[in-house]
């Protein structure tokens, strides 16, 4: 169907179990450069677990995951991560600029105490791109939820990743903020690959290029014509685990 490019993430026959429960079963998935994939599925369907596996935070019980042809644990992996919770550790004494600079951390450069002017300029430039240049010197406590979200994306982007992984990024943003946010992702998608978990079924259909339904097993949907299709797919997954849209078991992709 699609020409085989060098895939960014390649998952084969992967299972993950915790405490005897089958959380993910026989997952096959390829993320190709330029993809904008949204993962949807019911609570407990294993969405966050899949992201954690791709990030190398946990190891698969069976099967394999390769990120850019490499073990996800290797620190050279060009993956940027935006966590679900933006309102955590708010009292921490840190400015937005310093949070962004944290994204440059590299264990190989331990012992260097200060960030160079060039790195600070880069952080400023990325904050500017996110539209929050004026927040650079403000403490994170003094920002709104949406601004904090952008700071966290900037933190993920400063290391110039090829793949951006987001876990329910819009959980703490209002409706207007969500649309803005997806527009932003769309712009970012011109340069990098995006993989995210989202519950915004309606919006997702008009932004994501393909959708993955995850409820223990995985169902892959190439594209959607309307949000109704998304909802159908969503319900089919959670109720019967069958895909009516007749799509593509992953090994054909």
């Amino acid at each position: 169907m699609k020409k085989r490019a060098q895939s960014l993430v390649s998952i084969q026959g992967m299972c993950f179990t915790a405490g005897g429960l089958d959380i993910l079963h026989d997952i096959n998935m390829q993320v190709l450069p330029g993809d904008f994939i949204s993962i949807i599925g019911p609570n407990g369907g294993g969405k966050t677990t899949l992201l954690r596996l791709i990030l190398g935070l946990i190891k698969p019980t069976r099967g394999s995951i390769l990120v850019n042809g490499d073990n996800p644990r290797s620190t050279r992996t060009p993956v940027g991560y935006v966590p679900q919770h933006v309102n955590h550790n708010l009292s921490f004494p840190v400015t937005s600029l310093d949070v962004v600079l944290m994204g440059l951390f590299n264990p190989a450069r331990r012992g260097r105490f200060r960030n160079t002017t060039e790195e600070k300029d880069r952080a400023h430039a990325i904050l500017d791109k996110m539209g929050i240049a004026d927040c650079a010197d403000r403490k994170i406590k003094a920002l709104s939820g949406g601004q904090r979200q952008r700071v966290l994306i900037a933190r993920a982007l400063i290391s110039e990743p090829e793949l951006l992984v987001l876990d329910e990024p819009t959980a703490s943003i209002d409706t207007k903020g969500r649309t803005d946010f997806y527009e932003l992702l769309k712009t970012l998608n011109e340069e990098l690959t995006i993989l995210m978990v989202s519950h915004d079924l309606m919006i997702v259909s008009s932004y994501a290029k393909s959708i993955v339904c995850l409820n223990r097993c995985m169902h892959y949907h190439q594209s959607f014509s309307s949000s109704k299709d998304v909802i159908d797919a969503y319900h089919s997954c959670s109720v019967e685990e069958v895909c009516p849209l007749g799509v593509v078991s992953e090994n054909q992709v």
Binding site: L57, P93, M102
Partner: protein, 284 residues
């Protein structure tokens, strides 16, 4: 007060106080931003078991207490990593068992007649030179660990999951940090005692956190605040013949309340400015 500086014990006390404020400023900041206050309280109180062992077996105090609290802190760290939701319960249990062990061992020590109060409330005026040497070593250790791992510790304190993604050895550093807390607590016992050490570890960083923009500024300001509290408490206890540990903590507590009042005043002022601005822009 000036003539008091001529006494050897007073010079030792001042030196110990200054070293203590550096240690508390740095370690206390990590404790506050990582929300380890309860865990540190558990370590401080269970250190009493180590003191009991020192007397019962006749081991040297500093080594015995430090070894015991290091061991117990490693168990607490492992528990809190494994079972995060109920970690506080288990820490509370170990806190009580550690203290009970200490008391039982002291009961069983033949001819026991040590003044318990010294360990519970400390006495900065009786800090031996060996403790000051140990504190200097500790300051050196803390500073070198902090300089080497500053990036790791900063990212990990702010966002543990992200730190893991970026390749920070989170588990290892968590154990290292808690180990440093354990040794710190034991060293502070001489200055303010087991019960009050938590106040000295948390009050200066808590105040500093609100007025600073980075972790290092926070550490610096809390060190300065710690110095003010310790020296103030020392002076107060000397002039009025009071228990030094309690005086230091009382001064720190006073500073804590003062900071809350200052916060209030700042907020009120901001509100006033806002109200005035709105009166001008909306003429009646």
């Amino acid at each position: 007060m000036i003539e008091a500086l001529g006494f050897g014990f007073m010079q030792n006390a001042l030196l110990a106080g200054l070293l203590a404020s550096v240690i508390c400023g740095v370690i206390g900041s990590y404790i506050v931003v990582n929300r380890l206050v309860f865990l540190s309280g558990g370590i401080a109180h269970s250190a009493y078991g180590g003191i009991g062992m020192a007397f019962y077996f006749g081991w040297p105090y500093l080594i015995s207490a430090a070894g015991f609290s290091l061991a117990i802190s490693m168990v607490m760290a492992a528990v809190s990593l494994r079972n995060r939701e109920r970690a506080d319960t288990i820490i509370g249990v170990m806190w009580a068992i550690g203290m009970a062990t200490g008391i039982l061992l002291l009961d069983m020590t033949p001819g026991y007649n040590v003044d318990l109060m010294t360990y519970l409330f400390g006495n900065i005026l009786m800090v031996p030179v060996s403790d000051i040497v140990a504190m200097i070593v500790m300051v050196a250790v803390i500073c070198s660990v902090m300089f080497y791992f500053h990036g790791d510790l900063l990212i990990m304190s702010y966002d543990e999951e992200f730190a893991q993604v970026r390749g920070v050895p989170v588990r290892l550093l968590y154990f290292l940090m808690i180990g440093l807390v354990a040794v710190t607590v034991v060293l502070m016992v001489q200055v303010v005692g087991l019960i009050l050490v938590i106040a000295l570890l948390t009050i200066p960083p808590y105040i500093a956190e609100k007025y600073t923009n980075s972790l290092y500024q926070m550490m610096f300001l809390s060190t300065i605040l710690g110095m003010i509290f310790i020296l103030g408490g020392l002076w107060w206890s000397y002039t009025h013949d009071l228990t030094s540990g309690a005086s230091i903590i009382f001064i720190a507590g006073f500073g804590f309340c003062l900071s809350l009042i200052i916060d209030r005043l700042i907020n009120l002022r901001r509100k006033k400015v806002w109200e005035r601005a709105h009166e001008i822009s909306t003429p009646r």
